[in-house]
Amino acid sequence: MLRSALNRLIGMAIVMFLVVTIVFVIVRVTPGDPAAVMLGPDATAEDIASLRERLGLNAPIPVQFLTYFGGILRGDFGQSIFLNIPVTHALWLRAEPTFFLTVFALAIAAAVALPVGVLSAYWRGSAFDQAATMLAMFAASIPSFWLGLIFMQIFAVQLGWFDTSGYGGPGASFAERMHHLVLPAVTLGLISSALITRFTRAAMLDVLNDDYVRTARSKGMSEWRVVVRHAFKNALIPILTVIGLTAALLISGAIVTETVFGLPGVGSLIVSAVLRRDYPVIQGALLVVAGLYVLVNFVIDMLYLLVDPRVRY
């Protein structure tokens, strides 16, 4: 088991290294001088030269890469060009709305998807199953920003239950801030529930035909106990996997949703960084999100290793 864990750890380290390499390369594919592109058409030659110096763009590419990689190992993701603060600090300042948005969206997605997925599998082929499958597919076809705008039109513009955008302004209480997250979280949660529903259904179908479920039934155990205590418990591992991966992917959905609802989170920071060509911030955000994804994957693999002694990597 220790050997498997070690193998997986090495694999993760390699993938992380490649992730950093990709993030480094992305900025280098910019046609022309990245410093000139970042500063825009009005920049003077001196400005460009000084930014090149600051970003270390004059060094040979391998040296630049080593410097960048070394910085990341020390937790230094570079300096935001526009905000003039460290990238890690810029991301941290915007972390709250994104964190709560992701947590609420995930909770809503799980609350919808788990019961629907379990019942779909239990009543396989029924009208309920077909309707749920169609609905899940429909939800996966809706652009999240469009659903957000529709909700905004109904619940904020027409009914006036929520503000159309923002995070309550400076000095807003925690409750006020969370109130601003309701519509974005529902939007993101409903769309994410599609994937979790499909996985839950598939995982439940796998276990519902297993011998121990039949044994449990033949013992005269109530259906509720069979489904929840025996089947669902065993289907939980693949379901938790997809929930974990959805959590990492929700950051991507947050980019769009935060922009729709004008939330000052990491997502809208990324969009404004793109519009301002603030490459260090884009790179930092890419690294954090991809790193989280790789880490979640790794933790899930380790959980498998702990739970199921047959698993080997």
């Binding site: 490649l18 652009p143 950051i251 991507s252 980019i255 990324i270 519009l275 955000a285 994804y293």
Partner: protein, 288 residues
């Protein structure tokens, strides 16, 4: 010789009949076909010219004169949804072609040549760690916003998924007796790759391509909405919604209909893809 070179029979000739036997897949195919036809024939069908201004008729609700209403400049929304479809569908299709070109090459190389398998597979793993929209945004930011760069960015984003599917199939096909026989007969490796391996990878590839087409349409709309994709002057379903949101309280129909077009297209492609998967790739039928 013939027995060696002929790949196992596939059910391609009667694929249409098989699709027809499944109502949801058939519905998907019909709706996708109708949407493509409506876009291609837009100049014949559209009641107005796409940029024909009628300032006096601005922000009118859906009605007889304007089926889907008019926008802030009095342009006919129905006409613009038809014309936008041309851009959105072309971008989606171009993404599929570009992603397939990269994905198939990577997948074949990784699956067929053992010594390339580990490095290519790790690269694929690393690429898949980035959420699609985020990686696409970063690539467009680096390359500069334009329709061509959106296609390149999304192509790079989706290529690893195709590479993974192609690699998995190639690994199996590589070990089949007819490939071994072709090798023993001295058939050059590139010929084996194209004639024997690639041909048998087509089915899972087609299934994935359908889903990527759907995802690419969603992603392009997302990028355009964020203002980091195709220029707002070029009508796509995404840019229409992006512009329409400014008139959310006065004229919500400006964004209703392009959104509806996206949903209908993506949903139909997904239904079609699901059907294709069940016919072409029974191994994956249970997969999600």
């Amino acid at each position: 010789m013939a027995a060696v070179t002929t790949a196992p029979a596939r059910a391609e000739p009667n694929l249409l009949i098989r699709i027809a036997s499944r109502p949801t897949a058939l519905a998907g195919l019909i709706v996708v076909t109708v949407i493509i036809l409506l876009s291609v024939l837009a100049p014949l069908i559209a009641p107005y010219a796409p940029s024909q201004l009628a300032v006096r008729d601005r922000l009118q609700g859906p009605g007889m004169a304007h089926l889907m209403g008019t926008d802030e400049l009095g342009r006919d929304v129905f006409t613009r949804v038809l014309y936008s479809g041309r851009t959105s569908l072309t971008v989606g299709f171009a993404v599929v072609v570009f992603a397939s070109a990269i994905g198939v090459t990577l997948g074949l190389v990784a699956g067929f040549f053992r010594r390339f398998d580990a490095p290519v597979s790790r690269l694929i793993d690393a690429m898949m760690a980035f959420p699609d929209i985020l990686l696409a945004i970063a690539l467009v930011a680096a390359l500069g916003p334009s329709a061509a760069n959106v296609v390149i960015a999304l192509g790079i984003v989706y290529a690893p998924r195709l590479a993974r599917v192609v690699r998995a199939s190639t690994l199996v096909i590589r070990e089949l007796p007819y490939v071994e026989a072709a090798r023993a007969l001295g058939v050059p490796t590139p010929v084996i790759l194209v004639r024997h391996v690639l041909r048998n990878v087509v089915s899972p590839l087609l299934v994935q391509a359908t889903f990527i087409f759907a995802n690419a349409i969603l992603a392009e709309a997302g990028l355009s909405f964020l203002g980091v994709g195709i220029s707002p002057d070029i009508p796509t379903w995404g840019t229409m919604i992006s512009v329409g949101r400014q008139f959310l309280d006065q004229a919500p129909w400006i964004m209703w209909f392009p959104g509806g077009a996206i949903i209908l297209t993506v949903l139909s492609l997904q239904l079609l893809g699901d059907g294709l998967r069940d016919f072409l790739d029974p191994r994956l039928a249970k997969d999600v």
